[in-house]
C-alpha cells in the first residue's frame, strides 16, 4: 500500500500517530503530520487503514497496490 498525506488539510489531531506510529509522526511546532514511510510493510496495512479512516481531516490517502 502506498500512503500520501495532504499537509495543508491536516488539523494536527494526531490520531494517525496513535494508530500507526511507525508510519506517521507530527511536527513539533504545529503538530502537522509527518509521513515517515510512504510505502510501509504490508504487516502495517491494518493500522494504516485505521489511521486513514480516523483522520478527521481526510488528509491521508491510500493507494492500494
Amino acid at each position: 500500500m502506498h500512503v500520501e498525506v495532504d499537509e495543508p488539510k491536516c488539523v494536527s489531531a494526531g490520531l494517525c500517530v496513535m494508530s500507526a506510529p511507525d508510519v506517521f509522526d507530527q511536527r513539533d511546532d504545529d503538530g502537522v503530520v509527518i509521513l515517515l514511510d510512504s510505502d510501509p510493510d504490508t504487516a502495517l496495512d491494518e493500522e494504516v487503514r485505521e489511521a486513514a479512516g480516523l483522520c478527521p481531516a481526510a488528509a491521508i490517502r491510500l493507494v492500494e497496490k
Binding site: V11, S12, A13, G14, D28, D30, E50, P56, R61
Partner: protein
C-alpha cells in the same frame, strides 16, 4: 447479514460504510443522505471555506474513485422519513422502502434557530457557508448570536475579512460551561483584542429586519445575522419507531439502540463506559470513531466491544489552535499544568470527582499532550496524574 443500510451520508455514515467493507462485509450496502452532495467535511466550513481560503472542491471526504470502490448503493438528496423496527424497513422520502438486516443511524444534528421575521444565517451545510461568505466583507456589520466554538470561529474569520463583528452571549463568560471560566476568559480576551465587540449576559429574543432584538427590547443593528446557539438531533424520522429518543438516539455502551440497530456521530446519545456517563458528542473525530465502532459491533455481535473513546476536539481561532481531550463537562476543578494563560500557550487539566477527566491545550507540541491523553484513557486518579505528569505545577 446481507443487507446493511446506513442513514446519514456524512462523517459518521461514511466511516461506518468504509469500516464495513474493510472488515470484509461484501453484501448490499446502502448509504442514504438527504443532502445532494457526496459526503463532505464540515469543520472547514467555519474556517477555510468561510474565509475564502478554500474553494468547495477541497471539501469532499473521499474522491469519486474511492467512493466508487466501496460498491455502495448511494442515494443522495433523499431523506429517511420513517422506520419500521419490526419489519426491519426504512421508509424514504420518495416513497420507497429499504429493507435491512443491519441499520446504522448517522443523521447528525441541525442548527437551532431563533424566532422573528428577519433573515438569519446558520452554519451547518456547504450552502450555509457559501451564503454567509457571500455577504461578508470590509465594513459589513455582522451580529453573531452565541459565542460557542462555532460562533467564535465565525467571528475570527469575519474580523479577518474586515467585518464589524458583534458577538452576543447569554452567559457571563463564553464557553465557561464547556471549558471552565479561566479558559473562557482567555478566549474572550483574544476576541476583544482582535476588535470583536463581545457582549455577555445578553439574551436575544428575536431576529428582526435590521438586526436582532434583545430580551430587554434593545435593537442591535446588523447587515447580517448568524445564529450559532447549538443544535437539535435529527431524530424526527425515528418517532414512533419504538427506539428511545432523548436528546438524540439513545444507545448502550456498544453504541446499539436495538438489536441490529446502531447509532453513530452527532446524533448518538450513548453510554461511554470510560467516563461512566451518557454523552452526545458533536466532534468530528468522534463521528469517525463511532461510525467504525458501530460497523464492527454490527458485523460481529459475538465479539462486540464497548465504545469507550477519549473525546477529542479542536478549534481554530485567529492564530490559536485549541485542542481538548476528554470529557470536560461537569468538571470540578481546572488547573494550569503547563505554560501561561496570558501568553496563550498553556495546558490546563480538568478534575471530575477524583479523576483526571480531560486536558485543554493551546500552542503546545503534540509530544506534551500525548502522555496526558494516555492518562485520561487509563482512568488515572487526579493526584497521581498531576504528581507524575506535572510535578512543577505544584498542585495537590
Amino acid at each position: 447479514m446481507n443487507r446493511i443500510l446506513v442513514v446519514g451520508a456524512s462523517a459518521a455514515g461514511l466511516a461506518a460504510a468504509e469500516a464495513l467493507r474493510r472488515e470484509g462485509y461484501d453484501g448490499e450496502l446502502t448509504l442514504v443522505g438527504d443532502e445532494p452532495d457526496a459526503p463532505y467535511d464540515r469543520p472547514p466550513l467555519s474556517k477555510q471555506i468561510l474565509s475564502g481560503e478554500w474553494e468547495p472542491h477541497r471539501l469532499p471526504l473521499r474522491s469519486p474513485a474511492d467512493l466508487d470502490a466501496l460498491g455502495l448503493d448511494l442515494r443522495l438528496g433523499i431523506g429517511a422519513t420513517g422506520l419500521d423496527l419490526a419489519a426491519r424497513t426504512v421508509l424514504l422520502g420518495d416513497g420507497s422502502r429499504v429493507p435491512y438486516d443491519g441499520l446504522v443511524v448517522a443523521t447528525g444534528v441541525r442548527p437551532r434557530r431563533l424566532p422573528g421575521t428577519g433573515h438569519a444565517h446558520v452554519l451547518r451545510t456547504l450552502d450555509d457557508a457559501l451564503a454567509l461568505r457571500d455577504r461578508l466583507g470590509p465594513g459589513r456589520r455582522l451580529v453573531i448570536v452565541g459565542a460557542g466554538f462555532l460562533g467564535a470561529e465565525a467571528a475570527a474569520v469575519a474580523r479577518g475579512l474586515g467585518c464589524e463583528v458583534t458577538l452576543l452571549e447569554p452567559a457571563p463568560v463564553p464557553l465557561a460551561h464547556a471549558v471552565g471560566e479561566e479558559v473562557g476568559r482567555v478566549l474572550s480576551g483574544a476576541h476583544r483584542e482582535h476588535g470583536v465587540t463581545l457582549r455577555t449576559g445578553v439574551t436575544v429574543g428575536e431576529v428582526t429586519d435590521g438586526g436582532v432584538r434583545l430580551a430587554d427590547g434593545e435593537l442591535v443593528g446588523a447587515d447580517e445575522v448568524l445564529v450559532a446557539i447549538g443544535s437539535v438531533p435529527n431524530t424526527e424520522w425515528l418517532a414512533d419507531s419504538g427506539l428511545t429518543v432523548d436528546n438524540g438516539l439513545v444507545c448502550d455502551e456498544y453504541s446499539a439502540a436495538a438489536p441490529g440497530v446502531y447509532g453513530a456521530g452527532d446524533v448518538a446519545h450513548w453510554h461511554n463506559p470510560l467516563f461512566g456517563a451518557r454523552m452526545r458528542i458533536e466532534h468530528r473525530t468522534n463521528a469517525a470513531e463511532q461510525g467504525m465502532a458501530a460497523a464492527r459491533n454490527l458485523l460481529r455481535p459475538e465479539a462486540r466491544k464497548p465504545f469507550a473513546p477519549v473525546p477529542y476536539f479542536w478549534s481554530d481561532q485567529y492564530d490559536m489552535k485549541v485542542q481538548a481531550f476528554g470529557y470536560l463537562r461537569g468538571h470540578d476543578e481546572v488547573t494550569v499544568v503547563e505554560g501561561d494563560l496570558d501568553e496563550r500557550r498553556f495546558m490546563v487539566a480538568y478534575r471530575t470527582g477524583d479523576r483526571l477527566s480531560g486536558v485543554l491545550v493551546v500552542g503546545l507540541p503534540p509530544r506534551a499532550i500525548r502522555p496526558w491523553r494516555a492518562a485520561i484513557a487509563a482512568r488515572t486518579p487526579w493526584a497521581e496524574a498531576v504528581r507524575t505528569l506535572a510535578p512543577a505545577a505544584g498542585v495537590v
